[in-house]
């Protein structure tokens, strides 16, 4: 060891690049942030109204506890994977049907044409997200899905101004209990419940889509922020792309996490068709992937659902088999957990894109 005494220090730049790279690929779960915001505002309003805060309050709690249980399992799995480093002997590979579906979707996608965004035009991405709220009163649980419409206008040059419009549409679907029961129990209209209080709404404008101060103009891109430059740097070979995905997802959290990262990119509506096709092909390497429904209906649009189990739920992406287009995604309970029966859709998101001539303008029709 004494010969090793001639040591080269890292430069300041090398230290900074290591700092930038460490744990860089974390994802924000938007529904969790929205629930957190609603719970916060519910707490604040409760205090404003002079209602005494009871220890078990907060609409988030029920889902929070449920999610926390999921998180614990994820952590344990991560530990196990770290211990055995490389070799897996476990889950089955993607089913032949899933591989065939994805290969076909990839081929169709490559043949498709992405409508180009000309100078002065915008790519319009509409995301209809149905996210769950829960609460309980004296042991009686309520759960419902609320529709959030997020519309994004993306300029031809990404460093120009983008716009985001968020709207809680007021549409809801009851999963456990009914609105009438919730009102009778005295929970509707308060605590950010079925009314729209607490959900973020409004318009934001910023270059690079950096609406919330995440320094996206300096960001090199990621699965969660798939800039054109980032996409250009991805390997085109499916195996290499899969390895890249594996490397980008923090410490071996299993293939379900890989699937979630890929879905983050697809959901953006901004992934170029060739990259989309490559992602489809890379996903055929996901262990446990299977076709979970031939005719999955996502807010009126029907496609083929492919999913992978993630603890007590299943994540599905839904693809239009005719065009290879990504229609959206959903999460489905696979076990009876808390008050949710297996098969319950816990949240879903449908994405559409178009090209429009002006910021803030919705496509005709």
């Amino acid at each position: 060891m004494s010969d090793d005494d001639v040591r080269r220090l890292w430069t300041e730049d090398e230290l900074d690049s290591a700092l930038d790279a460490l744990n860089a690929h974390v994802r924000a779960d938007e529904p969790v942030l929205v629930r957190t915001r609603a719970a916060l505002l519910a707490d604040i309003e409760q205090e404003e109204e002079g209602v005494t805060t009871t220890p078990q309050r907060r609409p988030r709690r029920s889902t929070g506890r449920w999610l926390a249980a999921a998180a614990v399992v994820v952590v344990l799995v991560a530990g196990a994977l770290v211990a055995q480093t490389v070799s897996f002997g476990g889950p089955a590979p993607a089913t032949a049907e899933a591989v065939r579906t994805l290969d076909q979707a990839a081929s169709t996608t490559i043949g498709a044409v992405d409508e180009p965004v000309g100078p002065g035009q915008y790519r319009y991405v509409a995301t209809h997200a149905w996210w769950m709220g829960t609460t309980s009163v004296e042991g009686k649980g309520f759960a419902w899905l609320t529709e959030h419409l997020m519309e994004t206008w993306v300029p031809a040059n990404p460093s120009d101004e983008w716009m985001l419009r968020r709207d809680a549409t007021g549409n809801e679907q009851w999963v456990i209990g009914t609105r009438a029961e919730a009102e009778a129990a005295g929970v509707a209209g308060r605590r950010g419940l079925p009314d729209r209080r607490g959900w973020p709404e409004g318009e934001w404008r910023a270059p690079c889509g950096d609406f919330f101060g995440e320094s996206k103009c300096q960001d090199g891109g990621s699965w969660q922020n798939p800039t054109a430059e980032w996409q250009a740097g991805l390997p085109t070979d499916p195996d290499a792309l899969f390895e890249r995905l594996r490397a980008d997802v923090p410490d071996g959290r299993g293939d379900a996490a890989l699937f979630a990262y890929a879905a983050d990119a697809l959901r953006s509506g901004l992934v170029d068709k060739d990259v989309r096709a490559a992602i489809y092909r890379a996903l055929t390497r996901i262990d446990g992937l299977e076709v979970t429904e031939e005719q999955a209906n996502l807010g009126g649009r029907v496609g083929i659902a492919l999913g992978v189990e993630d603890d007590d739920r299943r994540r599905d992406i839904i693809i239009d088999p005719e065009t290879g287009r990504f229609i959206g995604e959903r999460q489905v309970a696979t076990d009876d957990v808390d008050d949710f029966e297996a098969g319950t859709v816990l949240e879903f998101t449908a994405v559409t894109t178009a090209v429009v001539d002006a910021i803030g303008v919705e496509p005709a029709g």
Binding site: R8, L15, L19, A21, L22, A28, D43
Partner: protein
């Protein structure tokens, strides 16, 4: 110089009167402005726990809002100060995560054929692993100063506000920690690459 929300340049207008009327509107705005970067910062430090810590941070901020003095610092540094205190309860989780990151099977091999860009990225990620190992050896206070600066993007004044220590202390600590990491992490690199 262009300004956009959340960056250091926006600090001037980040001093709301949080004790004023309409707290739900104030805190809704505060959340929209700061929650995502805060979540990202916390997730980089303690993973999934960030989901809960963001909510706790804002709830504590609301409960202690009369203690926030806009004259003494930005809302951002105040929020990161609260979050830093909450992180203290999860040091073991953080250290466990860093150890796992240090051991993580890397993608360093077989990447040459994808060109320089990928090679650069692989360099950065293998360096990140070495750094993770070195971060384990820092004490919490040093780690806070380093990561509030590097990951949260706070300047020295904001770090001082967040941690309640003099700005001179922040600068000297940051300097010392960076020196130490440059030496320690590269030392590990040297030892590990000895067989190449």
């Amino acid at each position: 110089m262009t300004e956009h929300a959340g960056g250091g340049a926006a600090a001037a207008d980040d001093r709301p009167d949080l004790a004023g009327p309409h707290p739900s509107r104030l805190f809704g705005q505060l959340f929209d402005r700061h929650a995502r970067p805060l979540h990202r910062y916390l997730a980089r430090r303690v993973g999934d726990l960030a989901d809960d810590l963001v909510g706790e941070t804002f709830l504590i901020a609301f409960q202690t809002r009369t203690g926030y003095d806009p004259g003494r610092g930005t809302a951002r540094s105040w929020l990161y100060g609260i979050a830093t205190n909450l992180l203290r309860r999860h040091v073991r989780q953080e250290v466990r995560g860093l150890r796992a990151a240090a051991r993580a099977a890397g993608s360093a091999s077989g990447a040459e054929d994808h060109g320089n860009r990928v090679a650069d990225r692989v360099d950065a990620s293998s360096r990140a692993r070495l750094l993770a190992g070195a971060l384990v050896g820092l004490d919490e206070g040093d780690r806070d100063v380093l990561l509030l600066t590097s990951w949260a993007g706070l300047d020295s004044n904001e770090v001082a506000e967040a941690l309640g220590i003099p700005v001179g202390t922040v600068r000297s600590r940051l300097h010392r920690v960076r020196q130490r990491l440059r030496a320690h992490a590269s030392n590990t690199e040297h030892t590990r690459s000895g067989d190449e």
